[in-house]
Symmetry: C2
Subunit: 323 residues, 2 copies
Amino acid sequence: MQASQLAIGIDIGGTHTTVGLVHQDGTISWQQQLKTRDYKTPEAFIAALKTTLQPQIDRIGRNHITGIGIGAPNGNYYSGTIELAANLPWKGVIPLTQMVEDAFHLPVQLTNDANAGALGEMIFGAAHHMKNFAFITLGTGLGSGLVANGQLIYGHDGFAGELGHTIALPEGRPCGCGRKGCLETYASATGLVTTAIEFLQQLKQFETYPDNWLATIWQQKKQISAHDVFIAAENHDPTAKAIFDYTAKILGLSLANLVALTSPEAIIFFGGMAKAGDYLFSPTKKYMEDNLLSVFKNKVQILRSQLPQANAALLGAASLVWA
Amino acid sequence: MQASQLAIGIDIGGTHTTVGLVHQDGTISWQQQLKTRDYKTPEAFIAALKTTLQPQIDRIGRNHITGIGIGAPNGNYYSGTIELAANLPWKGVIPLTQMVEDAFHLPVQLTNDANAGALGEMIFGAAHHMKNFAFITLGTGLGSGLVANGQLIYGHDGFAGELGHTIALPEGRPCGCGRKGCLETYASATGLVTTAIEFLQQLKQFETYPDNWLATIWQQKKQISAHDVFIAAENHDPTAKAIFDYTAKILGLSLANLVALTSPEAIIFFGGMAKAGDYLFSPTKKYMEDNLLSVFKNKVQILRSQLPQANAALLGAASLVWA
């Protein structure tokens, strides 16, 4: 009988990098965090990884480690590089896969965080045994990983799966990418807040400013968070419900179009906005169904991630080794 | 050395069914046509196939035939059935794969005609050696087959790849599918004609009806064909160019969104509308590029099918055996 094999997962985020040892059943036997911003150069970062990880590799034995999987913003599976990641301290094109291979002499795979998340769900989470599904992270922005025939759709250059940058409304809201109307300018925490402010300003303009929770918060703080909109909905604020409905209408149509192209068994949501729960997902599912071609109706599950939020990114990164 | 292997291709269309023997290099050593509508039941159709094909199988020897590939409207790869195909004489759900297997005792694969076309391009045509591309048939409607990681995206139910039924303009033109604003109501021969009539009616309404080729045709025939619009463009009719531009704007945006999701190496066009050539494709490419996320710009080739038009469907069907 073969000894149990482990994967090393490395999740690189703008603030923290988490490294850990992941077993094939999804248990994490060791993990540690580095502060990404402490390392001004990729070389310094690799040196810190070496100091942290090498004792673990020596303890377990190299032959019990199948490989290293890395999830990172703008990580490219094919080139093994991180390119122009706005929230990382290293500029330009970083050949991260090669650097980590040179440091540890183990097989290394790299992809972006949304793709890693999709693999995590496939191996350890809500997409277990699924071969066709979409994984969507709803946070500050909207990231996605698409799986078809049991494999991530990387596209010919490794950059596929950008649902957040499909144009949902031509000539719509300006997006950080330089274009207009991208889905993530509507369907994300940032988008929800923009919508909230637009709705509240419109109420004010028409002098129907209601004496409600959300309007009060806005008057007091002069700003609104996605969490405020959620709390307002909990308090039965009709404006909050209208804000979620507007968001859901745009997201639901985009999901219907995604289904027409890839016909997933499920669409799995992860991230801070997923906490908005039924306020967002019930109307989103309704609008998706309304816009589906009849052959797809009542077939596509809308699910929430089944990975523990705290370890999801690490499990996703490690999944690259098992996928 | 192994003897050369052959595939049997069966392309089922509303009018004709073509059967043929296809070699691995794409040469067709024998083919014959049946009139699909002559066979009122699937059983009668299978009997005719048997009469036509069995002598060829006996002549070549069963062990030299790898299998049978079938392309058919609404053909489902997973279930092996044709379901509710509007332009075929047989109603309901036809278990075609099973029926053909029972008749010939050879492995049988079935898919819809656009998917078969995509495989044909991958094995014999413009997508040779590509692992990530989109294949689009522009005819009366818009069909598509999407290939990622060298495999067709069938989705979990076999119905993926419906680019023509992504909603391009919410609340737009009524579509035969019962919804509104589907891409194929704009980007197809039918869509082009609808646009032409809208444009000509608008010219008339504003009393700026020009003394041009297209307007003259419309006045004389009280109808317009896609070919008329093409001829008008050849004659430098500005209305015709505006019609192509309008079509290209909608198609280009949809292609940009497709690229964001699947990042294909190329988008390959096939079908009657592909003959419109640069009148359609130059502005389509421009609008696609205008709407692309920067990481995808100037990377995606727009190509025309490299399969001979007369044999494309047959080669596509046979490709199912080699894919």
